[in-house]
């Protein structure tokens, strides 16, 4: 132990004494390692962002019906029971899902598209209240801006019908319980409870809505069916099986399954490409490092043989170049990491305006740095140990009189 620390001390002295040479080795190592880290950072960053976006954006989990059908309560019960389904709510006829709105304090009248919602709404996300009852809405960002209202304010909603030959218009007081983020819904829309949408459809169809005091024909269809649905799979990977299950029922749907497949295959292909490049780079890197360390040991043969003469053992002499290779590996890794961090920062700034908030093109996790360090150290130590063993095999007298 004492002798090893002695070797470490000597190796450090020598390394510091020959700082120009040491610096060259460190730079040579960093020059190979840094581009590989950038390459891997790009792969992790780009594919990671794509997957994050894919998984994070609920629209990628949406399954939309093409055309209209007849979906009864049992169908919705069945869908809710499925493991792949995260959220399902009926849609009323789209012609009935429009309402004129105006802020209670005045301002313009806006025709707003109503979207049925329920607890667990995937588009609104965490922290947004779910509208309930018949008077609560969550406005889309666009609608809220045009109506000039914020959460907590009141709206006047109105809709008209032609009933028994005459035109009628009813008004309804609405409370804005929340305003969705801009990305959630790009048009003028309002998330409302299904009950409200159903009531509006009843009214338009000329039937009475007692809960809101609207008159009309009595006699509701006891087996209510809906022409459509809003359906979200639990994960992006559940989309394709759900699509297939619905196709088997004869329901034609539109999904983003192809986009998901595309990203997944791109991830696979990019990973394969990276490992190919990394393997070539790593072999080249190990060879160049090994060659330079080997040359270093050859150059130091005389001094190593002096140590041998003084009484260091073979096993201790081997550590001399190994320690120095370790310094090179560590310093080279630190330099490469710093270069990488600089490149990462400027690259992410460069592409910042083309990315969604929080997205990056280049990123490495802490375990990636650790892996880079471990691989570098292992390669360096192996190359140096070979050289050191070679030097230690030389009889001490041989090295002594070499000029």
């Amino acid at each position: 132990m004492r002798r090893l620390s002695e070797v470490l001390w000597l190796a450090m002295r020598d390394y510091r004494h020959e700082w120009v040479m040491s610096g060259c080795f460190v730079l040579a190592l960093a020059a190979v390692l840094a581009p590989m880290m950038v390459l891997f950072g790009l792969k992790v960053g780009i594919v990671g962002s794509m997957i994050d976006r894919l998984v994070g954006d609920p629209r990628n989990r949406e399954i939309q019906a093409v055309g209209s059908g007849r979906f009864g309560p049992e169908w919705f019960e069945d869908m809710r029971a499925r493991r792949e389904v995260a959220f399902v709510v009926p849609r009323t006829r789209s012609i009935a899902a429009l309402m004129d709105m105006q802020a209670e304090k005045g301002g313009r009248i806006l025709s707003v598209e109503l979207i049925p919602t329920a607890p667990g709404e995937p588009l609104l996300g965490e922290g947004m209240p779910t509208p309930g009852g018949l008077h609560q809405v969550v406005l889309s960002d666009g609608a809220a801006r045009k109506l000039e209202v914020a959460a907590g304010e009141r709206l006047d909603g109105s809709l008209a019908r032609t009933f028994q030959g005459r035109s009628e218009r009813v008004h309804l007081q609405l409370e804005v319980v929340g305003v969705a983020r801009p990305a959630v819904f790009p048009r003028d829309g309002a998330f409302v409870p299904l009950d409200l949408l159903s009531a509006l459809e009843e009214f338009r169809d000329g039937r009475a809505v007692p809960a809101l005091g609207w008159e009309g024909d009595i006699g509701e269809d006891p087996l209510r069916t809906y022409p459509g649905f809003r359906l979200y799979a639990r994960t992006v990977y559940d989309v394709a099986p759900l699509r297939d299950a619905l196709a088997a029922q004869g329901v034609e749907v539109r999904t983003r399954a192809e986009d998901i497949d595309l990203v997944q295959s791109m991830d696979r292909n990019l990973t394969a490409v990276f490992w190919l490049v990394a393997a070539v780079g790593l072999v080249g890197f190990a060879l160049s490092l090994g060659a330079s360390l080997w040359a270093n040991v050859e150059r130091k043969r005389r001094e190593l043989s002096v140590l041998r003469l003084v009484g260091f053992r073979t096993s201790e002499i081997v550590w001399f170049p190994v320690f120095q290779a370790g310094f090179t590996a560590l310093l080279g890794w630190v330099t490469a990491s710093l270069i990488y961090l600089g490149v990462e920062g400027s690259m992410n700034r460069m592409f910042a305006d083309r990315l969604e908030a929080g997205g990056v093109v280049c990123r490495l996790l802490s375990e990636h740095y650790a892996v880079a360090a471990a691989v570098t150290l292992a390669a360096a130590a192996m190359a140096a140990a070979l050289g050191g063993w070679r030097a230690a095999r030389v009889e001490p007298s041989e090295g002594l009189r070499e000029v």
Binding site: E18, V306, L309, V310, R313, S397
Partner: protein
């Protein structure tokens, strides 16, 4: 009390068709003796010194015994070589020997103080005044914290002598320690060296090509003769003493 006892030790070296052979029929060196090995370069002095320093493996060994301490049983070096116990030989060198090389052999990255103290550190010897005293005796005290590269050749040789003595070995082997110096400096350094060795009761073997300046120091000269054999393709040197 013999420190070295060699019988029928042979080292053969061959390069570019010319063979060189060193033959030691019998060599006995007593503890505390001062030995001089005089001869022109190429006569095999360095080879013999390397054999005695146990850094060169003999081609044939009749007997090779080394007794570094009076009273202790002799160590069979022949056996160490036969079983390639290089580490044991290294341990012996480390504890028992000092070596002064023709040119420095100092570690360029260590200060003079650390160069002199290298063997002491390696042996875990306590830090005492040894280094200062040696440096003082050799007149290099003011250079203790410099790197060897900053010293003159003569000063470097003084450092090499100090390093060889610092761990108080049983024997010091010096291979032309004054060869790179002018005669006056050479005589002065050689005188200092022998004086120190005598004071410390260390056995010494010095190789030199110049008899005149070791003559007065009371060293025993080993006799050797060199002859060409087999039509000039083999040079053989026989050393006895």
């Amino acid at each position: 009390m013999l420190i070295y006892h060699l019988r029928e030790v042979v080292k053969t070296r061959e390069s570019e068709g010319v063979a060189f052979r060193l033959v030691v029929p019998s060599l006995q060196i007593a503890l505390g003796e001062k030995i001089a090995l005089i001869g022109q370069s190429g006569c095999g002095k360095s080879t013999l010194l390397d054999l005695l320093a146990m850094i060169l493996r003999p081609t044939e060994i009749g007997a090779f015994r080394f007794r570094p301490e009076p009273g202790a049983p002799p160590i069979d070096i022949a056996e160490h070589w036969r079983y390639r116990r290089l580490n044991d030989l290294g341990d012996l060198r480390k504890q028992r020997m000092g070596y002064v090389m023709q040119t420095g052999g100092l570690l360029s990255y260590l200060s003079v103080r650390h160069n002199i103290g290298l063997s002491r550190r390696l042996l875990g010897l306590p830090e005492d005044d040894t280094i200062e005293e040696l440096a003082d005796a050799l007149g290099i005290k003011r250079h203790l914290d410099k790197l060897p590269g900053k010293l003159s050749v003569g000063e470097r040789q003084r450092v090499a002598i100090a390093r060889a003595l610092a761990h108080r070995p049983s024997i010091v082997i010096a291979d032309e320690p004054t060869a790179p110096l002018d005669p006056i400096a050479a005589r002065k350094i050689m005188g200092l060296f022998i004086e120190l060795v005598e004071q410390m009761h260390i056995t010494v073997i010095v190789a030199s090509h110049d008899w005149t300046h070791v003559d007065k120091l009371g060293l025993r000269r080993l006799s050797h003769r060199t002859r060409q054999k087999e039509g000039g393709s083999v040079t053989e040197t026989v050393v006895t003493g």
